[in-house]
């Protein structure tokens, strides 16, 4: 029975007009591919420009980039198949079956990445412009391609993450499509220093920063935690633009330490006597 079906499929495929492939058709395919490529570049350029003009709402327009990319390539693929094969419905179904089997055996990783790209485009676990952490890499999403997502790390390295990783890796988005992002800043002070004064200084340093954004939905917090040889003052606040994450952290830390030193608040010191906790 299975043999009969395969023979029938082979018959249908044999009827496909592969022999009609000529130089004119090659040119047509080339036109389609070049047009699709140009359209993808143009739409990416246009939406990136729009997003930069949009300021704090810049992430929303970039959501359309991967969706349109997929749509353009899908339409281009359809036109190429239609041009080359001019298939009837039964031929198209049969060809799709064979094509799917070929993908399943030989190109399954690439196919999985493309499916991953489609899932990312529609489900949006992250978007272009987001700061994400995936597979141990942290950075800003530069592009969501059909096969891979490109991330720029803080040290300006471009890392390509296969889109398939969305299925089996945890992805953390620090800003979830918004421009503001929470930043955690830790300062460590000597146990004998005035921790309350240190908290006041860190609070002022945070709320007067050039980079801070405070609202009812983006509040700030200052926390104190005691450790055996030091105290940790932790500030949680939102930076107004996630691209300024590190500048925000650095500016607050620097200004806070200058003010703390003026107030006699010291960084932790190495303890003079470390208690002996060995079993002997």
């Amino acid at each position: 029975m299975v043999l009969t079906t395969l023979n029938e499929t082979e018959g249908v495929i044999a009827e496909l007009p592969f022999w009609e492939f000529d130089p004119g058709m090659a040119l047509e395919i080339l036109y389609i591919l070049v047009l699709a490529f140009i359209l993808v570049k143009v739409e990416t350029f246009v939406f990136r420009k729009i997003s930069e003009i949009a300021g704090t709402r810049r992430i929303a327009p970039t959501m359309l980039i991967p969706l349109l990319k997929i749509a353009i390539y899908a339409i281009a693929a359809y036109f190429i198949i239609a041009a080359v094969l001019q298939p009837s419905l039964s031929q198209l179904v049969a060809f799709s079956g064979l094509f799917g089997a070929a993908l399943g055996f030989g190109l399954k990783d690439i196919f999985a990445d493309i499916i991953g790209g489609i899932v990312i485009a529609f489900e949006r676990p992250y978007r272009i412009g987001d700061k994400i952490s995936v597979m141990g890499t942290y950075g800003e999403v530069q592009d969501i391609g059909l096969r891979a997502t490109r991330i720029v790390t803080p040290d300006d390295s471009l890392v390509s993450i296969p889109n398939f990783s969305v299925f089996n890796e945890a992805t953390a988005s620090a800003n979830a499509g918004k421009t503001e992002m929470m930043v955690v800043i830790d300062l460590f002070v000597d146990s004998e220093s005035d921790a309350v004064a240190a908290m006041d200084i860190l609070r002022d340093a945070v709320v007067t920063s050039k980079y801070v954004y405070i609202s009812s939905s983006c509040p700030y917090t200052i926390l104190l935690e005691d450790f055996p040889f030091y105290k940790r003052i932790r500030a949680k606040a939102y930076v107004n633009d996630l691209r300024s994450e590190f500048e925000f952290c650095s500016e607050v830390t620097r200004r806070a330490w200058i003010a703390m030193q003026r107030e006699g608040i010291r960084p932790p010191r190495f303890p003079a006597h470390i208690p002996d906790v060995s079993p002997d």
């Binding site: 036109y31 300021g55 704090t56 421009t179 503001e180 200084i201 002022d204 340093a205 709320v207 007067t208 050039k210 980079y211 954004y213 405070i214 609202s215 009812s216 107004n240 633009d241 300024s244 500048e247 500016e251 200004r255 806070a256 003010a259």
Partner: protein
């Protein structure tokens, strides 16, 4: 045909911000009857809050002390020792109580402590950008049960306010060419050159961004006074001081020509330090160089940055005080909101 509704009634004396003045006066009258609530009057730079405070001062000379601030407040005595015995304290430009720097809220905290304990009534005026910052950071709105925002003016009110400064007639002249009206949306074809000598004409929808519907459908010419003040109000976005400045710059007394009212372009690209210094000038309205340097801190070279802001026409200096150029105010606000420097 003249629009009679737009002509100020000469029989009645025009009072700008009459509603806001009445609200404050009612609160002051209620205080005399035992009701008690501090008032915050909040407005953009040049919007007219100081005009309102001045009117309230003039209406209540016997019961109100007027304390305007012009510089950053550095000692508690400045906010505690000048009240005298009057029951109503009018404090103008209270944004000088807080500095955006470490330790910069001490005077504001002292002021809030004082009004929390005082049995006097405080009517205060604030810059709206400082107010929204202090509301987010210090919850300042909780200390002022009554918050009155200085409203944006419509074209008619701005016209009444501006013309009330002049006794003689102003001649309004429409010297602009009336362009032929183009449709809002039209189809055009764009030729696209393909390889091997092919050309493809692609139909393309075209949107006329400068389209303005004909107001009177060609039946009558619009009132030129209305057109002039509509344009000024649109550029000033209803800000009284900005509107007045544009009017004064465009007026060649006793004539004003429509073509002389400038359509101000708005395109800014500043670095973070320039933007922050511009924010400080905006939120303080008018600030001396020494105060500006103190708030900016050692991070910012104030002289160089001020030079760049001044040369861009964003900031101007008057009698040693720096302020945002009124004509660029709305552009500055839009830019600082876009980069989220103001909230």
């Amino acid at each position: 045909m003249e629009d009679e509704a737009l002509v100020p009634d000469e029989k009645e004396e025009f009072v700008l911000f009459e509603e806001e003045i009445n609200r404050i006066q009612e609160a002051i009258d209620s205080f005399a009857e035992g009701e008690f609530s501090h008032i915050a009057l909040v407005g953009e730079p040049f919007a007219g809050q100081h005009l309102i405070m001045g009117t309230i001062r003039d209406q209540n000379p016997d019961i109100a002390s007027y304390i305007p601030f012009f510089n950053v407040i550095k000692g508690k005595e400045a906010i505690t020792s000048t009240y005298g015995t009057k029951e109503i304290i009018l404090m103008d430009r209270c944004h000088f109580l807080a500095l955006r720097q470490i330790g910069g809220f001490a005077m504001l905290d002292a002021f809030l402590d004082m009004i929390s304990l005082s049995d006097k009534m405080f009517v205060t005026s604030w810059n709206s950008f400082t107010w929204s910052y202090l509301r987010a950071v210090k919850g300042i709105d909780k200390f002022f049960p009554v918050v009155i925002e200085v409203p944006k003016l419509d074209s008619k009110t701005l016209m009444e306010a501006v013309l009330s400064h002049y006794e003689g007639d102003i001649e309004f002249i429409d010297d602009t060419e009336q362009p032929e009206e183009q449709p809002l949306v039209a189809m055009k074809t764009v030729p696209v050159n393909l390889p091997f000598g092919y050309t493809l004409n692609i139909p393309w929808p075209w949107v006329n961004l400068n389209h303005r519907p004909a107001e009177n459908h060609g039946e009558t010419q619009p009132d030129i006074e209305k057109v002039v003040f509509d344009k000024i109000t649109r550029i000033a976005k209803g800000n009284y001081g900005v509107g007045l400045r544009i009017w004064e710059r465009s007026l060649d007394y006793p004539k004003i020509r429509l073509s002389k009212i400038p359509d101000l372009p708005c395109s800014l690209d500043l670095n973070i330090k320039e933007a922050f210094l511009l924010y400080i000038v905006l939120s303080m309205e008018s600030i001396s160089f020494s105060d500006l340097s103190e708030i900016a801190g050692p991070d910012i070279d104030v002289e160089q940055t001020l030079y760049r802001l001044t040369s861009h026409g964003l900031v101007e200096q008057e009698k040693g005080y720096y302020r945002v150029n009124p004509e660029t105010l709305n552009c500055v606000i839009a830019y600082l909101k876009r980069i989220r420097m103001v909230w």
